[in-house]
Symmetry: C2
Subunit: 492 residues, 2 copies
């Protein structure tokens, strides 16, 4: 099966699209731009959710749930936010179907059942949430309000790709309210840091934390923090964002509180989110021409055991050993699947689990029984070794950790090798075309230069790195003075 | 606070509505019929989800995710299902907003952005899922397909009530595909049993498992299993349903498989769901005039510790004891909150946690420090006792289990006392009006008698109990022969 996969060098984009479908992660649905997330893909997303949810709760956040729909009058209240999403809004206009008089047994929209006010399917929930917060916040005692929501959102994108850009996607959106500007800014920075930690420790994806330029900011935000990752084709991917919203939404929805000095003040806000797009980042960072490569921390099962046998008797003998290993691994908290299906041959199964990125594969055949060994194969390096049966659990346990780190290190080496400092526009264009990756360059801070570069090269400013050092220089485009390098790249 | 709650005897319906809001579980939103689930309410729902999810996985099911929207042509494919939901469908007709030329800074629906085919916001997902299954099922080797989805759905109800009936609600929907009729029927029955177990062991709600009559069946189902509970006002509440769908959806979406005999056959189906309606059942079954009463297995925190102190010094001494108890309880897996806020008085906190139904409250004052005791108060019985500090953890642990069982027993005694056998229609009406509850009566099996009774009394047949015994009798309405008693009640 792996052999049917287009190689990355041949067509990276095609490789990705094929891999998502062949590895049973997701597929396109009958609804334009909407995907079906298949059980294997969803199991990975569930692991991401569980870990993020734990991290949010540890930092004091609680979950809640707000309506799917936003009345148009609320949606348009924060004008910049509304303007930013207006062109991508799915709109509910009617609430009933009726029998179609012209088509026996079929239905049509009941023209009598038109809503007085149209409902927008949420592209993001600031409007409905801040309209609700108005009723929840009166005093400084009600602050901070630290809430997260796991939800589906809809943005009517014209060009969609599984996980990376879909009309409906799953995400979490945090929405917090604070008494002071500083506290809100700290929260936005903290949650961006939580995303960075999660990406590095679980997805095994090195990320750069930074600030967006004004033109790349979330619509309605005062400042947008982000984490930026680099894919194997040298294109950047924004993996998460955290916004300091100032008092924009508090003003739009008139959310004030009585401070501990007894004054009426507008509340300060943040919002932050990551989505099923992370699945795309995960797939594109680690996978190879044989299929998916999953970091052990997110693999639905970390180990698969495949019996190699002829006849029922051999299967039974192998199963006994396999079941012992399964029990021992589970005791250590390692997830394992014993694939004893007799409907598929071992070779088929080897290909299947390679394609699906299971970190470790244990093969057990009749010779292994004699020698009291098993064959242990690593998905990331495609290397194999024989291990004494009594050492299997320790070995697997150590290897899972090793693989998790190795994937991160490999991605990090690649990423670091693809951050190139340039000082001229010629150099910039040369690196962008040939070497690809992030380009660290001086920029004069104007939207005009940023737009001109984007227009001429398709590269955007991915972020102003938080860890960047002040450095005097001149803008690669305008030659005007600049005080810090920013990171450019072509991006997903 | 508890004192402001309308009593159940005064106005049960008002009591419920007030309680949901005052206990911070949910509130109405700016979107007609849609609710906001507040953090405290959502924490209970999360506990339900976690347990159900575990039970689904233990019975071999996997989670996946299907689109929010259903194209109208797919929606109408299974005609009975479509007809059943047509009158409650929210319909997306447009995909873009634009600046309103008549209202500066405001938006309107872009008339140019009309969808070629309208999209229905899923009221249930059989149509989109069976359209997808067509691509997943070719051979008997692909069966059974055991999938569950956690999702939001929309049914445009005209009269809504928090949790019980809302336009948007959260639920899980299982959708399974099987090679044989028997296997599908067994699955439908099994999942109804899972719901019954969950209701009894976690919600502490006794339920009756039964079959729906034809007129009460899910639209498109061949047979609907259900669990029925009884609320304190003597009205029944359908808490979960599990449907045997026969080959209806397989035929509507042309889903066939090659059997192990090489024949092409239609697939057999089930679907099953429970929703945030369970929150309503939970609230109405156990709560009292003082507020919410939560079973320990679902309480966001099972124990709250309230310090009773004057001045910082006393608080510090009490905190030391409290923190020891917190640590010891957590070691036992008991969730506990130490409310040391100095913004609220102990009396206010006592009322607050009574209203919020925290199963156990520990009060610690200066005298307790001297005597090395704490005051332990049970929410369900409102009884208090002093407990030696070294016994607290054992006592709490035992009490939590005792409360869980006591709530179930109390609800069971009430329910059992409200199942009344009647043999005449006069008696039926008398019990329905005065005693209320389930009425066990003979019915002739016709939709006509069922409809007449419903029309005249508002009572519906809640179910034909699975554990019912065959018994010859005559229908209370028509006098015609009947072979089994069924359960009638007025219902939510």
């Amino acid at each position: 099966m792996g052999k049917n996969l287009t190689s990355r060098s041949e067509d990276y984009s095609k490789w990705y699209n094929e891999l998502v479908v062949k590895a049973d992660l997701a597929e396109n649905s009958a609804v334009r731009g909407c995907m079906v997330i298949k059980p294997y893909g969803f199991a990975i997303w569930e692991k991401m959710q569980a870990e993020l949810d734990r991290m949010f709760k540890e930092t004091g956040h609680q979950n809640a749930y707000f309506p799917l729909f936003v009345p148009k009058s609320l949606f348009e209240a924060e004008e910049k936010n509304a303007e930013g999403f207006a062109k991508e809004c799915a709109v509910v206009t009617h609430y009933r179907l009726q029998n179609d008089p012209d088509r026996e047994g079929k239905l049509r929209v009941d023209p009598e059942a038109r809503l007085e006010e149209e409902l927008i399917v949420r592209p993001t929930s600031e409007a409905i949430i801040w309209n609700t917060y108005k009723g929840w916040i009166q005093s400084y005692r009600d602050l901070p309000l630290l809430i997260n929501q796991w939800a589906n959102v809809v943005r009517w994108e014209m060009r969609t790709r599984l996980f990376l850009r879909t009309a409906e996607f799953l995400w979490q959106e945090g929405h917090t309210a604070h008494a002071t500007e500083q506290e809100a800014m700290d929260e936005a920075r903290l949650m961006n840091k939580v995303y960075a930690d999660f990406a590095e420790r679980f997805l095994a994806i090195p990320v750069i934390e930074g600030l967006k330029t004004e033109s790349e900011r979330f619509a309605g935000a005062v400042e947008t923090f982000c984490i930026e990752a680099l894919m194997q084709d040298g294109k950047a991917l924004q993996a998460g964002t955290s916004h300091f919203l100032g008092q924009n939404f508090a003003k739009a929805f008139d959310v004030k509180f009585t401070s501990n000095q007894g004054k009426q003040e507008y509340v300060w806000a943040t919002s932050w989110g990551v989505s099923t797009r992370l699945m795309g980042a995960l797939i594109m960072t680690h996978s190879d021409d044989h299929g998916l490569v999953l970091p052990p921390n997110l693999a639905p099962y970390q180990v698969v055991i495949v019996p190699i046998y002829k006849g029922q008797e051999q299967l039974e003998a192998i199963s006994q050993v396999a079941n012992e290993i399964v029990a021992d691994l589970r005791k250590r908290g390692i997830s394992v699947k014993f694939d004893n299906r007799d409907t598929h041959k071992p070779g088929w199964k080897f290909n299947e689990y390679e394609l699906k990125g299971v970190p470790l594969r244990i093969g057990i055949g009749p010779k292994d029984l004699e020698k009291r060994t098993v064959e242990l194969a690593r998905r990331d390096t495609l290397t194999k070794e024989f291990v004494a049966k009594e050492d299997v659990v320790d070995k697997v346990s150590a290897l899972l950790q090793e693989i998790q780190e190795a994937l991160y290190d490999k991605a990090r080496v690649f990423r670091d090798a693809h951050i190139t400092e340039v000082n001229t526009y010629t150099e910039f264009k040369e690196v962008l075309e040939n070497k690809t990756g992030f380009i660290s360059a001086h920029w004069d801070g104007t939207a005009a230069s940023e737009a001109a570069i984007k227009n001429e090269t398709k590269a955007t400013i991915r972020c102003i790195p938080l860890e960047g050092q002040p450095e005097e220089g001149s803008c690669i485009y305008s030659g005007k003075p600049s005080k810090q390098r920013v990171l450019f790249a072509k991006a997903y």
